[in-house]
């Protein structure tokens, strides 16, 4: 097992580096845009040159990157163009909010996808399956920001039972935090659950058609034991592996949802970064969001491996 985790980590670290390179290139894909965007259209060439010199933007990209990387490894993600405030502490402050949203959305998505997907597979071809599959198709087409808007319309404006935005830290007031996080978590989680549901249904169908499930039936096991003891764990392994990708989509939604519900997380910081053309802020927050996504992917993949005895223990030729 230790070997498995070690190899996972060993592959993970270069991926993080590569990701930072990609983001760095993406944000500099049009050279010279940083200064012009920050200063505005009427900036004089001298102002631009001064800005670039001040921020080291006139050096070759490779140098800029290595310099930035070096500082990043020490926890320094630069300072905002706008207000000269260091970026890293701001990100750290906002991290819990984003993580909370992500975790809740993840829970919502799986709480829906796992049971309904399994049910659809168990009742394959029958009414429950058709209904659930249709529901998944419809749900998966709903834009998460529209769903958020509708939820606010209904629950905040019409029924007035949930707030339309704002954030109280969990430790300060759990209940208030909960009421503020329900709608955001639902907006993100419901749409993601659609694809995850389909994946669960597919893997469960395959498992239910397997020989070992047939053996369980032949032993006289009732349906709930067949599902819980024999089918579920085997279906979860490919589910987690394939579903890991969906978590990336889920995180993308964080940017919009945090904006709609005025949650002070890293996602909304990304927006601040782009709207103000504040490159260090944008780069730093985009980087951290990507890191969270990649880490989540890796964790999910690892969980899948941990569930699979075939991957944990090597084959021994038996006698």
């Amino acid at each position: 097992m230790a070997r498995l985790l070690f190899t996972r980590l060993a592959l993970f670290v270069p991926t993080l580096f590569a990701a930072s390179v990609v983001l760095f290139i993406a944000i500099n894909v049009v050279p010279g845009s940083a200064a012009r965007s920050a200063l505005g259209v009427d900036a004089t060439p001298q102002a631009i040159m001064r800005f670039e010199a001040l921020n080291g933007l006139n050096r070759p990209l490779v140098v800029q990157y290595t310099d930035w990387l070096g500082r990043a490894l020490h926890g320094d993600l630069g300072t905002s163009f706008q207000n000269r405030v260091p970026v890293a502490p701001e990100i750290l402050k906002r991290l819990p909010t984003t993580l909370e949203l992500a975790v809740l959305a993840f829970l919502v998505a799986n709480a829906i996808a796992l049971p309904l997907g399994a049910l659809a597979a168990l009742r394959h071809g029958r009414r429950a399956d058709v209904t659930i599959s249709a529901l998944a198709t419809v749900l998966g087409a709903i834009p998460n920001f529209w769903l958020a808007t509708l939820l606010v319309l209904v629950f905040s404006l019409h029924l007035k039972i949930l707030p339309a935005g704002g954030y109280t830290p969990l430790l300060e007031s759990p209940w208030k935090n909960f009421t503020q996080m329900i709608l955001p978590a639902l907006s993100l989680g419901l749409v993601s659950s659609a694809l995850l549901l389909r994946i669960m249904r597919t893997t469960m169908l395959e498992v239910l058609n397997s020989d070992y499930v047939r053996t369980a039936h032949a032993k006289g096991a009732p349906e709930w034991i067949v599902v819980m003891r024999h089918a579920l764990r085997n279906a979860l392994i490919p589910y987690l592996t394939v579903g890991a990708v969906e978590f990336g989509f889920l995180f993308g939604g964080v940017v919009i949802i945090e904006d709609i519900f005025r949650l002070p997380g890293i996602g909304s910081l990304v927006l601040v970064g782009i709207i103000n053309r504040d490159y260090p802020v944008l780069l730093g927050s985009a980087l951290i969001v990507t890191f969270i996504v990649l880490t989540a992917n890796m964790l999910v993949d690892t969980c899948a491996s941990l569930l699979d005895p075939r991957q944990l223990r090597p084959r021994e030729a038996g006698r």
Binding site: S210, R214, K219, G220, R229, R315, G318, R319
Partner: protein, 333 residues
Amino acid sequence: MPPLPQDAARQTLEIRDLSIAFPTPRGSARVVDHVSLSIGGGEIVGLIGESGSGKTLTALAVLGMTPRGARIESGSILLGGESLLDKTERERRAIRGDRVAYIPQDALRSLNPTLRVGPQVGEPLTLHRATPWTVAKRKAVELLAAVHLRDPARRAEEYPHQFSGGMQQRAMIAMGLCLEPQLLIADEPTTALDVTVQAQVLRLVREIRKEHRTAILFITHDLGVVADLCDRVYVMYAGAVVEEGPVDRIFERPSHPYTRGLLRATPAMHGPKEALIPIPGQVPLATERPKGCRFVDRCAFAIDSCHSPPPWVEVEARHKALCIRAGEAEVAA
């Protein structure tokens, strides 16, 4: 339902006139066509046929595990005199694994890869006898020892992928024996194994019969295994039984042209220099069977009367074949 004959209660398994059909785009396909067979306690009965002959489906019908869409059109299945087809699903579940055990072909795929072998083997105890897991696991170790697995206590803690093919099959057998069933249905259990391992499994099956007097239905397409192991044989072709009898009589005097063709096409039955003679033609689709004898298009001995349904001809004591020319000297040669 006709009254039970006197000796029916003595038979562990009795299948009478069973027909199972599937709907297909081309009409209803009767995959099992009026099949009758019986097995007594302590008997090892072979069921031979090519794939698609309906043998597995027959076995699944006994277990009550026919696939969705399969319709049992007629017939009865009696286990120790009790009719199985009349039972509810709950009653059938109580019988499966307890009074009837199923041993499938591919042992590796038939074992749950994420559960240790011990709990899987002992599971029937928890399902049918409400045995606590600790006791069941201990019994599982005993069962693994009974199937000659070395170091059974350690093996019980391992996962299926850590076993070899032969060990996996023996674990499946241990699982089947857990509650000392009246009937054991083995569906091609040796097909995927190499010869030496095969011999071990067959030896095990004989032991089981000797010690527990279990009735064993041994489904296979391997004539060599049948000759080695079985007391009686049923030969199935295209969904129907075409010949039945004691195994030595069947091999000595095959009375149905299909059986004869099978023997001539099987390497194990011949000396090293003799030519193998395959049966010409192909098995007809279940929706396109000829009227009358189903083998007529491939039979070297077909005559005009073969286009009407063939009768059962009793060639010897307890040896009969579904052929109008069964027993004729020409056919048996």
